[in-house]
């Protein structure tokens, strides 16, 4: 798992190819991957299935956060209930045990859902690098009706002419070098 706090190098320019439909983008992504273009990204108005596999994106780590934080929330809720009803101020209610687990379940559950849910959102924002209002928008149609493949400038062996040539063969509706 990559360290989510690690700063990614910010490229200053890259090649953006726009496509009219997701299938063309998928084919282009596979071809570009074959050519070994590094740190590619794709921008789509909705999740396109198969794209993360085509670009070799690793499985999301967000679910682990949900699991761990949900269990932590439940454990904290249970601890707090035991502490209040058996340690800090024990009250004998009709001879019932101080630590009466069935009665504690709803609060455990709610605490687990609360912490799990809020931390899932936090993890999502962290994983997506949000909020980030400064990052430039490559093209306004990318959240609308265009599917973009982005090959950023990475390292000295970045060859603009070659990338343009390869992507040209994939039939984009628009192909250009964007400075960011």
């Amino acid at each position: 798992m990559r360290n989510p706090f690690a700063k990614r190098p910010e490229p200053s320019r890259g090649v953006l190819a726009l496509y009219e439909d997701p299938d063309t983008l998928l084919r282009a992504a596979a071809l570009a991957k074959e050519h070994g273009f590094a740190e590619m990204d794709a921008y789509t108005p909705y999740p396109v299935h198969g794209l993360s596999e085509a670009l070799g994106v690793r499985q999301s780590w967000v679910p682990y956060v949900t699991l761990v934080m949900g269990l932590t929330g439940a454990a904290l809720g249970l601890t707090f209930e035991i502490w209040t009803s058996a340690v800090d101020w024990p009250i004998n209610v009709g001879g019932k045990p101080y630590v009466s687990l069935p009665a504690f379940i709803p609060i455990m559950f709610e605490c687990g859902v609360l912490l799990g849910g809020t931390m899932t959102l936090a993890a999502l924002l962290l994983a997506c690098g949000l909020p980030n209002l400064k990052k430039p928008i490559l093209d306004r149609d990318l959240t609308n009706d265009r599917f973009g493949l982005w090959v950023p400038e990475m390292g000295p062996d970045w060859n603009e002419a070659r990338i343009l040539q390869v992507l040209k063969s994939t039939g984009p509706s628009d192909l250009r070098v964007v400075r960011v």
């Binding site: 299935h49 967000v62 709803p106 809020t118 899932t120």
Partner: protein, 294 residues
């Protein structure tokens, strides 16, 4: 958690609104709420995982919220509240009245925004079926509750239920039974599940019926308790009326503001089925293959 789920679902659409905004003010306003969403493959990748998990966390909340509320009633000693059937009864009632309310708002929204091609008759048909099922479950709960009260041999219990059905608040009890149990039975017939006016009227009646269910549970149990000297007839005061009118106003204010400024239908979700639908329409022969692929 429900609010988080709702907001996460909006983020990509807010980004779309930002990028389609025609004025600078709108662009900045939507941009702030979209948090800088770009729709990159990595973002979508994490987004889909998180959205699914939030849905999974929010679903059992429906059960827990309503069963806990119902247990607040059930732990009291008041006849009519002190019942073990309450948790499933309240959960079924919640789904039932929730669907009725959504149906009422959906009919209006669909008409007002011309969404006939997105909210189809099939959606209405399925919603009507769920209302039929949950309405009948609620009816079963009414019957169980009555039977158990009679069968318990507890004079206070049986008095409370006879008093509900025949006492001074009998009108409220029978509005509840007829609106919640009898009226939805029309959905057995396909003809009525295909008729928007019928569904609209039924959903309104169910909303009324479910309101009277809460009224019946709360008022009839309280207005005649163990001490006859406590007995009286409940009359709402000006404050009671103000609270109900005010809460309607508060709800509709937010609802209408939302419809005005935000997409009433998830844009990204509709778009994702558009392309598959377009392909299937273009090449019917390749349909099965494409569907498997999708």
């Amino acid at each position: 958690v429900s609010a988080l789920f709702w907001y996460v679902g909006l983020i990509p659409d807010l980004a779309t609104m930002r990028d389609r905004a025609k004025t600078r003010v709108r662009q900045v306003a939507y941009g702030i709420f979209a948090l800088g969403w770009r729709g990159s493959v990595r973002q979508w990748h994490h987004y889909e995982a998180a959205y699914l998990l939030l849905a999974a966390l929010a679903t059992p909340l429906v059960l827990s919220v309503h069963s806990v509320v119902s247990m607040d009633f059930a732990v009291s000693v008041l006849p009519g509240w002190h019942t073990t059937v309450f948790p499933p009864y309240f959960v079924a009632g919640a789904i039932f009245s929730g669907f009725a309310m959504v149906l009422t708002l959906m009919v209006i929204c669909r008409k007002a925004f011309g969404l006939d091609h997105i909210i189809t008759m099939r959606h209405f048909d399925l919603m009507a079926k769920i209302m039929l099922v949950t309405g009948t479950m609620v009816g079963y709960a009414y019957a169980t509750e009555f039977f158990v009260a009679m069968y318990s041999g507890n004079p206070f219990e049986s008095f409370t239920f006879l008093n509900r059905a025949t006492g001074p608040f009998a009108w409220s009890y029978w509005i509840m039974v007829s609106c919640n149990v009898l009226v939805p039975q029309v959905f057995w017939l396909k003809r009525f599940r295909q008729s928007i006016p019928v569904m609209f009227v039924v959903s309104l009646l169910v909303n009324v019926g479910m309101w009277f269910e809460r009224f019946t549970i709360i008022v009839t149990s309280l207005h005649r308790d163990f001490l006859p000297s406590n007995w009286s007839y409940y009359k709402p005061t000006i404050f009671d009326y103000s609270v109900i009118v005010g809460s309607f106003g508060f709800f509709f204010m937010w609802f209408l503001l939302f419809c005005r400024f935000f997409p009433a239908i998830s844009i990204a979700e509709v778009k994702s089925v558009l392309w598959t639908a377009k392909k299937n329409a273009a090449a019917p022969a390749a349909r099965t293959e494409e569907t498997v692929h999708a």
